[in-house]
């Protein structure tokens, strides 16, 4: 490699690739964790947009889920302290209650969005933005009122699954298993959801109907599909994913709640949807890419390029560390700008459906 690194200009590029390869094994499990809320948000987006509803409110649903999940778990733990169940994730009743509460509140917000955009025929982006602003307002208000004066509130987090060391030591396979399975329960469930939704969307009757409703609702209507009902159902069910994403943030990742802790992840999820061309697996790939750019920023700060990357080291040191913090947002914009023209949204995305004769 030393030979390649010596080439002027291109050598720096090779050094960069070499550095990425060097740090990747170390940050891979973190990447999968960081990708979890983005991937779940993206699944919510895929499901909504495949049925023809643009959902900008994923961010707000996530934030509300994070808050309500944390609050419910904390209050339950305070009222009924209990030992964790046995098993790998050290789940407690409080944590499970929290997850259920997070999902419930996100589904309620989803239903609101569905009602505004399907029945009322409001602009779907404005409806989504309302959900985001409402989530910021309500969580900020009740955070100040209920959580700030009660600093010991909390139910801890789910613990990470540990593989037996013999498995981790297997070359390559062990590393891949470690990356995907040394995770908490919500992160692990993402893989299942992605594959399940991919199969359902493209191989099941429900999937065919959903895609029909998103591409050409009138045609779907003529063959007897209840467009309005299917859209309602899909948007509300998609809320489950946004709620889980929120639950991940407070009940699996940090164990606390801060105002605006989603920090744009719901919007990055939308970019992942577009990047993945409205397929669950593609969106997951997008989520992993964004999460990688996030974790890479931390890696550069913690483990800067060593002496073997002679030219790269000074360059990366010259870039202020804040730039790496902004990396996920910059990557989102770049990906959106580069991909969007070649990636085609479902034809009826964002258009309210009005049955003929009802206009």
């Amino acid at each position: 490699m030393e030979v390649v690194y010596g080439i002027p200009i291109i050598g720096v590029l090779f050094q960069f690739i070499g550095y990425v390869i060097e740090v990747t094994p170390g940050i891979a499990p973190i990447v999968v964790g960081l990708a979890t809320p983005i991937a779940l948000g993206a699944l919510c987006g895929v499901m909504c947009e495949r049925s023809g509803i643009v959902n900008i409110g994923i961010e707000g649903m996530m934030l509300s889920g994070a808050f309500v999940g944390f609050l419910a778990a904390g209050l339950w733990a305070q009222a009924f302290p209990a030992e964790p169940f046995g098993g790998p994730f050290s789940a407690t009743p409080a944590l499970l209650i929290g997850v259920v509460a997070a999902i419930a509140v996100a589904m309620v917000l989803s239903a609101l969005h569905a009602w505004l955009s399907i029945s009322i025929g409001a602009d779907q982006i404005i409806s989504g933005v309302i959900i985001n602003i409402a989530a910021l307002g309500f969580t900020g208000y009740f955070n100040r009122l209920l959580i700030t004066p009660n600093p010991r509130l909390g139910a801890g987090t789910f613990s990470t699954f540990r593989l037996p060391p013999e498995v981790v030591d297997i070359p390559v396979i062990g590393w891949i298993l470690e990356m995907f399975f040394e995770q908490g329960p919500i992160s692990m469930s993402v893989i299942v959801f992605v594959l399940l939704l991919q199969v359902l969307l493209f191989r099941s009757r429900w999937g065919l109907r959903t895609r029909a409703v998103g591409e050409h609702p009138r045609a779907a209507d003529t063959v007897g599909i209840d467009v309005i009902r299917l859209r309602y159902r899909n948007v509300i069910v998609a809320g489950i994913f946004a709620g889980l994403a929120g639950a991940y943030l407070t009940l699996e990742s940090t164990g606390s709640f801060q105002n605006d802790m989603t920090s744009g992840k719901g919007f990055i999820a939308l970019a992942a949807v577009i990047f993945g061309r409205w397929t669950p697996i593609g969106a997951w790939g997008g989520a992993l890419l964004f999460a990688f750019s996030d974790a890479f920023g931390d890696a550069v700060v913690i483990r800067p390029p060593g002496p073997e990357f002679a030219q790269l080291g000074p360059i990366m040191e010259a870039i202020p560390s804040q730039v790496y913090g902004a990396l996920p947002y910059i990557v989102t914009i770049v990906i959106l700008a580069g991909v969007v023209g070649r990636s085609v949204a479902p034809a009826a995305d964002g258009r309210p459906y009005v049955k003929e004769g009802q206009t």
Binding site: V129, G137, G140, R144
Partner: protein, 386 residues
């Protein structure tokens, strides 16, 4: 110019301006009422959560809010000063809506404008005020415009939707500001990271009150933007692109150019909002400088139905709420100021669900102008407009 004045001639029963204004403001008025009722319910619920149920607390809260906003000459000046950046932010959203663009990046444009004004203001702090003030405020406006140019260009050239790119740029702006103010722009000799004092670049106070020159800029821009949108050729083109980009293209207009120009103009207005806050109110900028102006601007623009006069009235309402929230918090009511965000979201909800209000109350209010509020989603995911 005659073509520009009447772009959408529709047979409409002749009615007085006052009657039309009243008709148009029924829905916003009811939405505000609804928002206040929701706010009251939330306050009652929160008393139930933290102690005993107190049904009168919302009234006490709203009373102290009113007192804080209008109870004294000082309160009124606070209201006006708080309304000024909201007017500019509201215009930054409203002008975009007219072109079919949903600019939710006012937060970032505000931060960048504040940064530009603070940096250049500190640089020219020693110059004569006649030079320093215009230079500093122009710097704020231009950095804001540059920040608005980015999503405009991305939308026009690549089709990346402005809703996602502007949100990303909000976060990038916050990180950029934190970097510059803890690094290259940090002024020495303070216990915390901040820019140097703006000195002579500060807006001089007017009439011996807190009202500063930036307030005049904000209120003065209301008729200017109205003229630009409804009396100039450019405004006609902006509104045509918003209403129907295809028609605009066939008529020989350039949608891509107009999108970039409009977003830059939105950014300029958002940057001005940040600039007048720095030069008129705080006098310097901290690394964690944040404000609620960005998201409040969206509510202001939608409540004002994307019309400059409506935006001004909505901004005064929100300015009053912000000015009054201080008293509400420290007075006997003791309500977290975040209640304003709750009320704001509820107002937005009722505005969007206006169909419901109309049905429930059986009123026949006209819809918002057709090009407004219903055009934003059209361009989502559909690629570049050219």
């Amino acid at each position: 110019m005659t073509a520009a004045t009447e772009p959408k001639e529709r047979p409409r029963p002749r009615q007085g301006r006052v009657a039309r204004f009243v008709q148009l403001s029924i829905i916003p008025f009811l939405a505000i009422l609804g928002g206040l009722i929701v706010g009251a319910l939330v306050i009652i619920v929160s008393t139930a959560l933290t102690g005993e149920i107190d049904l009168l607390l919302p009234l006490i809260a709203y009373q102290s809010m009113l007192e804080g906003a209008f109870g004294s000459a000082r309160g009124i000046t606070f209201t006006i000063v708080a309304a000024a950046p909201l007017i500019l932010g509201g215009l930054a959203v409203g002008v975009g809506l007219k072109a079919g663009l949903f600019n939710i990046g006012v937060h970032g444009q505000f931060l960048m404008g504040a940064l530009g004004a603070a940096a250049i203001g500190a640089y020219v702090a020693g110059a004569s005020p006649i030079i320093a003030v215009p230079v500093a405020i122009a710097a704020g406006a231009l950095t804001g415009a540059a920040w608005g140019f980015i999503p405009g260009a991305l939308k026009a050239w690549t089709g990346a939707h402005e809703v996602v790119t502007t949100i990303m740029l909000n976060y990038i702006a916050a990180i950029f500001v934190a970097y510059l103010i803890t690094g290259p722009l940090e002024a020495p000799g303070f216990s915390f990271s901040r820019t140097g004092p703006v000195g002579n670049a500060a807006f001089p106070p007017l009439f011996g009150t807190e009202i500063h020159g930036g307030v005049l800029v904000a209120f003065g821009l209301v008729p200017v933007i109205w003229w630009l949108l409804w009396r100039s050729t450019l405004g006609f083109e902006i509104r045509t692109v918003g209403a129907n980009p295809d028609a605009a293209r066939y008529a020989g207009m350039r949608p891509a150019f107009l999108i970039i120009l409009t977003m830059s103009l939105c950014g300029l207005l958002g940057g001005l909002a940040g600039g007048i806050q720095i030069l008129g109110v705080t006098g310097y900028m901290t690394a964690s400088y944040g404000s609620a102006i960005g998201f409040a601007s969206i509510t202001v623009a939608l409540l004002g139905r994307a019309h400059p006069v409506g935006i001004m009235l909505a901004a005064l309402l929100f300015g009053a709420m912000r000015a009054g929230s201080g008293l509400m918090q420290i007075g006997e009511a003791d309500i977290p100021p975040e209640i304003i965000d709750v009320i704001q979201a509820a107002i937005l909800f009722f505005l969007t669900a206006d169909v419901v209000i109309k049905k429930v109350l059986r009123i026949r209010a006209p819809d918002a102008e057709p090009s407004e509020l219903q055009t934003v989603t059209k361009s989502y995911g559909s690629g570049a407009p050219t």
